[in-house]
Amino acid sequence: MISRPYAAAKRTLSVADKLLEVNWGLVLLITLIATGGIAMLYSVAGGHFHPWALSQLSKFIVGLFILAIAATIDVRVWMSLAYPAYAVALLLLIAVDVAGHEGLGAQRWISLGPVDLQPSELMKVSLVLALARFLHGKSVEEVSKPLNLGIALAMIGIPALFVVIEPNLGTTLIIVADGCALLFLAGLSWYWITPALAAIATAVPLAWRFVLHDYQKARVMTFLDPEADALGAGWNITQAKIAIGSGGLSGKGFLNGTQSRLNFLPEKQTDFIFTNFGEEFGFVGSVALLILFAVVLFYGVQIATSARSQFSRLLAMGITLNFFFYIMINGLMVMGLIPVVGIPMPLLSYGGTAMLTVMFGFGLLMSVHVHRQVEIPRHSGGII
């Protein structure tokens, strides 16, 4: 049944062999970025490991283990777990609307003992898994069939709906973007894509009118004219720009940032952590960071296009795009190019769920890399 002897040999890899197959260069890159993030958390705390840096370090180490474990698990196992994971994430998402508590004006957390879980973060990875699983068996023509397309859109739309009512606009956007990107990659016909883009263009004004919350509208309005209310809602944008801009070419130096450390930046340790980076390391440091991110993304695309099964490809590309959307939205937001939506900078921002899901995502990507030679029949449902 298997056409290549090499592949047959790979199927019997031991865990140790798999760990050797892991792309350690990518892991090193991720570690480098995360270390930069921990250094920033140390800095915004005024040169203290408390309350954020140490905690973030431990989360990153846990994340590394998760990455390693996920990488060694056969990609077909992940394929089998795709739908159950999606179902669990969706249930948690519904639960958060019922039982979650308000944080920062939005209902996003669910308390699991000592851990505050953010189901919307889980959903991003679960959706990528489930869609990759669903689209794995679909040929280019089949993807564009209304029934298949309808099912896929429902898989995207239902969690998106629960996230948007939390309300969490940023995550909703990422979920929808992830899902649509996978459909696009699976070969969705331009006959669908073109009218869909046109429909979005017309839907935006309607969404403004009926869907967006007042605070979301305020954010947009504030974004358009931040100086109009410089001490109120425009505060974030104005102060973020001052922080980044004041870094200049080479920055003020590590621990010498004043903007974020002195609380001019709200949520300095989470969504706005990049501003501190820009302030302390300047243009040179910021561009270097962007290059590191770009190399990670390059690895992701390379892994995706090298995989031999559609599920692996879609999974790898979905994870890569998800990572990219984080960087894009957060980057544009803190630099004042788009309104403020609550999206952290991956690997840099303080936050447990985000760190763990990002590392889990990289684990899945690495699993694809490790099992890149594995071929999965079109109608296979995995190996569990």
Binding site: I244, S246, G248, T258, S286, M317
Partner: protein, 629 residues
């Protein structure tokens, strides 16, 4: 079943193609991010750097203690006392400033006007600047605020300093007062102190004249603050320079006596040291409490001050301009001696009136004085004597001597707002009115009426110069900080000693020889005798009919229409030491001004501040003893 069927290959091609397309999109987004970083950090970097600095550093100005004002013996005339006050920081008032004021209003009394003023001040200042809500609180009120502090976000209790004038209205026209900075005060004054909410600057008197000396230099505390304006740490502390103290020539003891003696009259009185021109006391009554302007004056109080016919806000000493009346006669007498007219044989005959052209000039004494010499003219204050003398002298000779005695020009006293009286001349009238000087004008001026005017301060200078024979100038400020003000021994007047002696003798006869116009008010105690000259300044012209009826002495006349009573004097007669000028507005009846001057001179001589050891503290006493006395 083939794993890689045709369909799968086409899927793979599509996937790769589209992946690379998305990869290109990612590259584009990264390009945008890098471009934006360039824009923020390189292109606009400097501007944002400035804004970041502004954010971080707050310069908190610290008001230095204001310099105190002392009298010549070290009595504190203006000092600083503790000021319990409540400040409000807008950005810390989490429930809004209006609500914060409401809450404060429940703890201590706040009027609506106060609240409105605070809101205005808050709006004018940056959000982190503490603005005073209420000042000069009692300890009890202050404790209440402190007790309720947990419920008053943004409220800061503070112990500051405020100006205090312990003697209230006694010295108000000398000291002036401090009050809140008005927008007009900031024009042309860049001192950062003025930006401190609640800061007071000198508005009148010494407080204004020496404001910059008294202020000192603003201290500053450079603090690093967070976004809530809360201080993280102090980066630098510049303590500032305390204001310098000022020592006046005033003897508070005499000042207090004078002030009390003038009482409720609309009056002014100056006591000088004739040798130096130092002002020992200087009062204009009624005064007002300068503390009112510091603490805040109510509309009612302000209306009372501005509408009173006794003009409490006016410093009559240097800003009141009056016809000197007969107190000008010594000037004319001196001019007559200087001109060689009034020789010892010079006589003028008075029969009660003098006719010039078709106008009759009356003497105050209906029957006339008979034949008088110079001293007799002064003793009797004979109008006809001075009409005739002035007529023969001509106005220009009188002006010359008047100017030498310090009239006709501001005396240069160290106070703002001094006015000057006026001494006319022929040329002036020609130039001013285009009309030739008339002899009738000279006659009016000869008795201190007509165009002649003077401030009580100028009259005091006149009599001081006559008494000492020196061209002294009035001086009020003895020492600024540790530095003595410039002080030179005044040169003798450019007038003959003979003339001065004769005028002094004439003034001696006014008070000390029976028949003198002020003989009834003389100082009888041996060694303290004064010499003086009475005067009356007409408030309005009288008709001849009124003159004949004697209405000018009518105490039934409306107060406002009565003449002003004037008196200049020096004492003791033999060796003049102190001079005094006194005016009581509308006080011609009963000569209250003469009584006041007499009491003041007697009191001053008995206390003798000039003779008291170590009159001025520090090195001043020694210095004065050497160079002046």
């Amino acid at each position: 079943m083939p794993l890689f069927d045709k369909k799968d290959k086409s899927r793979y091609a599509t996937f790769t193609r589209r992946s690379l397309g998305l990869g290109g999109g990612m590259a584009l987004v990264f390009g945008i991010l890098a471009g934006r970083l360039y824009q923020l950090q390189i292109r606009d970097g400097d501007q944002y750097m400035t804004e970041a600095e502004d954010n971080r550093i707050n310069e908190r100005l610290l008001a230095p203690p204001r310099g105190r004002i002392f009298d010549r013996f070290g009595v504190e005339l203006a000092n600083n006392r503790r000021n319990y006050r409540v400040l409000l920081v807008a950005e810390q008032a989490t429930e809004g400033v209006a609500e914060a004021l409401e809450t404060i209003g429940k703890v201590i009394a706040l009027t609506d006007a106060q609240k409105k003023r605070v809101l205005t001040t808050l709006a004018q200042n940056k959000k982190f600047v503490p603005v005073p809500v209420a000042e000069n609180l009692s300890w009890e009120e202050f404790s209440r605020i402190n007790m309720h502090l947990p419920y008053l976000p943004g409220v800061q209790p503070d112990v500051g300093e405020t100006r205090d004038y312990p003697f209230n209205d006694e010295l108000v026209h000398i000291l002036g007062y401090v009050a809140q900075v008005s927008p007009g005060d900031k024009k042309g004054d860049e001192d950062a102190l003025l930006d401190i909410p609640g800061y007071r600057i000198g508005k009148k008197g010494i407080e204004r004249q020496y404001d910059e000396v008294l202020r000192g230099k603003a201290g500053a505390s450079r603090v690093e603050v967070n976004a809530y304006g809360r201080v993280i740490r102090e980066l630098g502390h510049e303590p500032g320079v305390p204001g310098q103290d000022i020592w006046l020539t005033i003897d508070h003891d005499v000042q207090q006596f004078v002030s009390k003696r003038l009482g409720g009259e609309s009056a002014a009185c100056i006591v000088t040291d004739v040798a130096t021109g130092d002002i020992i006391a200087m009062a204009s009554t009624p005064g007002y409490d300068p503390n009112l302007f510091n603490i805040g004056i109510s509309p009612d109080q302000w209306r009372d001050l501005t509408t009173s016919d006794h003009k409490p806000l006016l410093d009559k000493v240097m800003s009141g301009v009056y016809p000197p009346g007969s107190t000008f006669k010594p000037v004319v007498a001196l001019a007559a001696v200087e001109a060689g007219l009034a020789t010892p044989d010079y006589r003028v005959s008075c029969n009660g009136a003098m006719t010039l052209g078709n106008h009759t000039f009356h003497c105050w004494k209906k029957g006339g004085h008979g034949t008088l010499d110079l001293e007799g003219g002064l003793k009797n204050s004979c109008d006809v004597f001075f009409y005739e003398t002035a007529r023969r002298l001509g106005i220009d000779k009188i002006q010359e001597v008047a100017l030498k005695l310090g009239m006709g020009a501001p005396t240069g006293i160290e106070l703002p707002g001094e006015k000057s009286g006026f001494i006319p001349s022929r040329a002036w009238k020609q130039k001013r009115y285009g009309v030739a000087w008339q002899q009738g004008d000279t006659l009016s001026c000869g008795i201190g009426q007509g165009y002649v005017t003077a401030t009580p301060l100028q009259m005091a200078l006149e009599v001081s110069r006559i008494a000492s024979g020196r061209s002294i100038n009035p001086r009020l400020v003895h020492m600024v900080g540790g530095e003595l003000t410039r002080r030179e021994t005044a040169p003798p007047l450019d007038l003959s000693e003979q003339g001065l002696a004769r005028v002094r003798e004439g003034m001696n006869q006014v008070t000390n020889v029976p028949g003198g116009t002020a003989y009834a008010f003389r100082i009888a105690e041996p060694g303290f005798e004064m010499a003086g000259k009475t005067g009356t300044a007409q408030v309005r012209a009288y008709s001849q009919e009124e003159h004949l009826r004697g209405v000018t002495k009518d105490s039934a006349l409306d107060w406002k229409l009565r003449d002003h009573g004037l008196f200049i004097a020096f004492a003791p007669v033999a060796t003049p030491k102190y001079a005094c000028a006194c005016i009581v507005e509308h006080g011609a009846v009963g000569h209250p001004q003469v009584l006041m001057a007499r009491d003041v001179l007697l009191y001053t001589q008995k206390r003798d501040p000039l003779g008291m050891p170590a009159a001025y503290p520090i090195k001043a006493a020694a210095l004065m003893g050497g160079s002046v006395r």
